[in-house]
């Protein structure tokens, strides 16, 4: 075999891009992840546009539904999908092995965030491609703030997903992130707007990452408005969950 002499790392950016590409491809090849990331949100979109559930909110059914579906997509990929994948990678020692390569722990996390964003872009394109023919007309002023808020929401959910994946067994991660996906998706202010929830829930839901992302996206895409409260709440969740993940994440 060739003599071993002086190896060097590839440049940092290249390592992170490679890892992001690799993780995104892994997520897109996984059938269960695809159901969660694409199939279920699309089914929910169609369900909400053919039933009168969202009538009387102040917009066409599809216009009210799409922002919530985008929020659901962010939760699917960043929280449930990434959480489960990371939990099992931790179990199989993949995180430990990769942190001994030049990629390192920081590069690994950066790669995961990149993969979440890449999958999110694909989700937005697919949801938009289905929603436009159904009559989706977002407020043009709200598109850019809406997309920025979606990225912030994905950041908050990534931090939460990594926190769960890094602190409990992968089976528990699987259960927790799937259960919360259903609970928050249905009752957390994501697809069903807050005013349709019981009064008791309304007081708490706007403090949840799900409620703030759902309401914030609806304000942006329906009315072209920036919901300052939603931005603050999502920032708070990102910082708190991120700090907790850094503090308590167990690599093995």
């Amino acid at each position: 075999m060739t003599t071993a002499t002086g190896s060097a790392p590839a440049p940092l950016l290249r390592r992170i891009l490679l890892q992001g590409k690799y993780e995104a491809a892994t997520m897109l090849r996984n059938g269960e992840q695809l159901i969660l990331a694409v199939v279920l949100p699309l089914l929910a979109l169609i369900g909400l546009t053919v039933t009168p559930l969202l009538d009387g909110i102040g917009g066409s059914r599809v216009n009210v539904a799409v922002p919530g579906i985008l929020a659901l997509c962010a939760m699917s990929t960043a929280f449930t999908g990434q959480g489960i994948a990371t939990g099992f990678d931790r179990r199989y020692g993949v995180l430990r092995f990769l942190s001994t390569t030049p990629l390192g722990r920081t590069g690994l996390i950066a790669g995961k965030i990149l993969a979440v964003l890449a999958v999110l872009v694909i989700q937005v394109v697919i949801v938009a491609a289905v929603a436009f023919p159904l009559g989706w007309r977002p407020d043009p002023l709200g598109v850019l703030p809406g997309l920025c808020l979606l990225v912030l929401g994905a950041a908050a959910f990534t931090a939460l997903g990594l926190l769960v994946a890094g602190t409990v067994r992968p089976e528990a991660t699987l259960a927790i992130t799937n259960l919360l996906w259903i609970l928050l998706g249905a009752l957390g202010g994501i697809v069903i707007p807050m005013q349709r929830l019981p009064e008791l829930a309304q007081n708490t839901v706007h403090l949840l990452p799900s409620g703030s992302l759902g309401e914030g996206l609806r304000d942006a895409f329906l009315h072209g408005a920036v919901n300052g409260n939603a931005v603050l709440v999502l920032l708070m969740w990102t910082v708190l969950a991120g700090a907790a993940a850094i503090r308590w994440f167990k690599w093995n």
């Binding site: 075999m1 003599t3 190896s7 390592r15 892994t26 020692g93 092995f97 001994t100 390569t101 030049p102």
Partner: protein
């Protein structure tokens, strides 16, 4: 501690506490209390110890995977606890459990890892050498233990490292894979790589290691070349090079008093099985066979071996199960 010509890894007085653990009323557990070692370039250095002796913890501190509580570690001139990608690029790691994603296929996985390095080893050469081409289209989760180990070794070598850590490399290997892996390790050593091997298998250490550190209960208990360790605790003998264990089976209850030289110990290990250990000379063998001939005894089996590292290890760390 010895001083090799060109050290790649120096560990001095390593301490590692884990916890607080609920099983210890919330107290910390000291899993490594005092481990020191030096590993050189172009050598295989083995860390030998029973399961739970602190080998993996020691090595994971050296790899930067665990934070040490005390002591110093220098790996290729840097502190692995704080060093960055430059150091990691020069060090290859094969973990005990492989650390390979179950859904991955071998070749894309190796190509992905190779991308993290500026000058990776040629993929084809490594794949062919480790026989990975025969299962290149199978997911990691469907590979046999030996195939996984070979893939994990390839993943550790793809970056062309100067230092290679191997944690229990022969676990799950069939005899053919073991031969292949051992040949490769010897070749890499000869090419100048510094190899650090942790194992609880005496045979691995005996076959591969240039220098062995025996670790027990979180501290060093013995060290030396395999030959030096084999002399450990041996009675003073004129021909130390000739320390052997001779085993044979014959009638139970035979009395060999006075047959062999005084410093050779002969005992009946179980009914009818005898073991003579010590500096056996050709004269001893002649005397023994003459004694058999005189008494009309033909042994059912007969074998001779150098004292094994396992014997030394058991001498040092005790025979009781912990």
């Amino acid at each position: 501690m010895r001083s090799p010509k060109s050290p790649v890894l120096t560990i001095d007085g390593l301490i590692k506490d884990v916890g607080p653990l609920p099983t210890l009323d919330g107290k910390m557990l000291r899993v490594v209390s005092d481990v020191s070692l030096v590993a050189g370039r172009g050598e295989v250095t083995a860390l030998l110890g029973a399961n739970g002796a602190g080998k993996t913890t020691t090595i994971e501190c050296a790899q930067g995977l665990q934070k040490r509580t005390g002591g110093t570690i220098t790996l290729l001139g840097a502190d692995p606890g704080t060093a960055g990608a430059e150091l990691r690029a020069r060090v290859g790691v094969m973990l005990q459990d492989g650390g390979l994603p179950p859904s991955a296929r071998p070749i894309p996985l190796l190509r992905h890892i190779a991308g993290m390095y500026r000058n990776p080893r040629p993929l084809d050469e490594l794949v062919q050498r480790l026989g990975i081409d025969s299962f290149s289209r199978t997911n990691v989760r469907r590979l046999s233990g030996g195939q996984k180990q070979r893939l994990a070794l390839a993943a550790a070598l793809i970056g062309n490292p100067e230092v290679l850590f191997l944690d229990e490399p022969s676990a799950g290997l069939d005899p053919q894979s073991r031969q292949l892996v051992f040949e490769l390790i010897s070749e890499l050593r000869d090419s100048g790589m510094g190899i650090i091997l942790t194992t609880h298998l005496m045979d691995d250490a005996q076959r591969l290691a240039d220098y062995v550190y025996i670790i027990d209960a979180g501290r060093n208990v013995a060290e030396g070349t395999v030959a030096q360790l084999l002399q450990h605790n041996m009675p003073e003998a004129p021909h130390k090079d000739h320390v052997r264990t001779l085993r044979f089976e014959a009638l139970p209850g035979l009395d060999f008093t006075g047959v062999l030289a005084a410093e050779v110990e002969i005992r009946e290990t179980r009914s009818g099985s005898y073991a003579a250990t010590g500096a056996l000379t050709p004269e001893d063998l002649a005397a023994l066979t003459a004694w058999w001939a005189h008494h009309g005894i033909m042994p059912g089996s007969l074998s001779m071996e150098a004292r094994s590292l396992e014997d030394v290890f058991l001498d040092i760390s005790g025979r009781e199960i912990r």
